[in-house]
Symmetry: C2
Subunit: 195 residues, 2 copies
């Protein structure tokens, strides 16, 4: 694929990400994606012969990898003393993203995840795998800090639930307060065992 082809593909994914974040899976039609990205319709089917679901899968996967990269940054980088500090920074990153987008860009996975959980098994699986990857990274880091494997998985899952719920409430309320409060809760939930 030439440079231009790569650019068109990237533009289609970026446009799809923006649209599904702002109005979800059912609210985003291919016409909308074509109009928003200015990509020729033919190039959409060239790059994504599977159509909308293949494009949405690419968008979800890319967004998931960006968050995962944030979570796999080596300890100490960005000033994170431990996993609790890293998780707090993730919550803060989501809060800033929401504020910057005037509360339209929440979790890049959540809306599609809820819409497709009962209606589209292939996309549900993509969303589940993204969440599982985030939880695994958090859990592995907690184990390295002395949590037992089961304890680490539980704490990572609780952190993820808190983050997802707080992003949801912050979007709906158009306020970063739920995320600010979630930060304290994360610190409390990820306190070292016995602390």
């Amino acid at each position: 694929m030439g440079v231009k082809g790569e650019e068109t593909r990237a533009r289609l994914i970026a446009g799809t990400r923006e649209l599904i974040e702002a109005q979800g899976y059912f609210g985003t039609g291919l016409n909308r994606i074509v109009a928003a990205t200015g990509a020729p319709r033919g190039s959409l089917y060239f790059h994504f012969p599977g159509g909308k679901d293949q494009l949405v899968t690419a968008a979800l996967t890319e967004a998931g990898q960006e968050v995962e990269a944030l979570l796999t940054a080596p300890p100490g980088e960005g000033g994170d003393a431990d996993t609790a500090a890293l998780a707090e920074r993730l919550v803060e990153a989501f809060a800033e993203r929401l504020e910057r987008s005037d509360y339209t860009s929440g979790c890049p996975i959540a809306t599609v995840a809820l819409e497709t959980a009962g209606t589209n098994e292939a996309l549900r699986t993509v969303c589940a795998e993204v969440y599982a990857s985030w939880q695994r990274v958090l859990s592995t880091r907690l184990e390295a800090e002395g949590f037992g494997p089961a304890e680490a998985d539980t704490a990572a899952g609780q952190t993820l639930a808190l983050l997802e719920g707080a992003v949801l409430l912050a979007s709906v309320r158009r306020s970063r307060e739920p995320l600010d409060h979630a930060r304290y809760a994360v610190r409390r939930l990820l306190g070292k065992p016995g602390e």
Copy 2:
């Protein structure tokens, strides 16, 4: 309105609730609601002259009130020793509802809330008010147990975030595990101040 009119209205709301829970706001058209409820199209416009959004508002409000009623049950009823026990019972109720529905019925508000947060100010406000009402009830109960007002509001918001996030993850994963883990976290977050 006669008994039959009341019945038709209730049937329209119940059908809408089921559809928006399973496939969201954008995925639920009026044709679908008419087909699923068997209500004559004329009766839909008679009871809901505002159309789909008025019907969805009624569905969200009714679902919100059901959860609120659960949260306002007098302490001691249902065996709840305190707000933490009540919140744990709420988490359990959501887990059972998910299991019974083969993981299609999660939070009755969340999907529409995320879909409309950036696209439909009237429905966003309805969802925000439902969440605020749940948080207020929890907060008031926590204050009665010795939390300061700000502390109670924060803890109630954290509990709500945890519940919403865990329901989301449980739906996507088709597993009640995130909710089981959220129960422990709720107990930890709602521990009396100083405990």
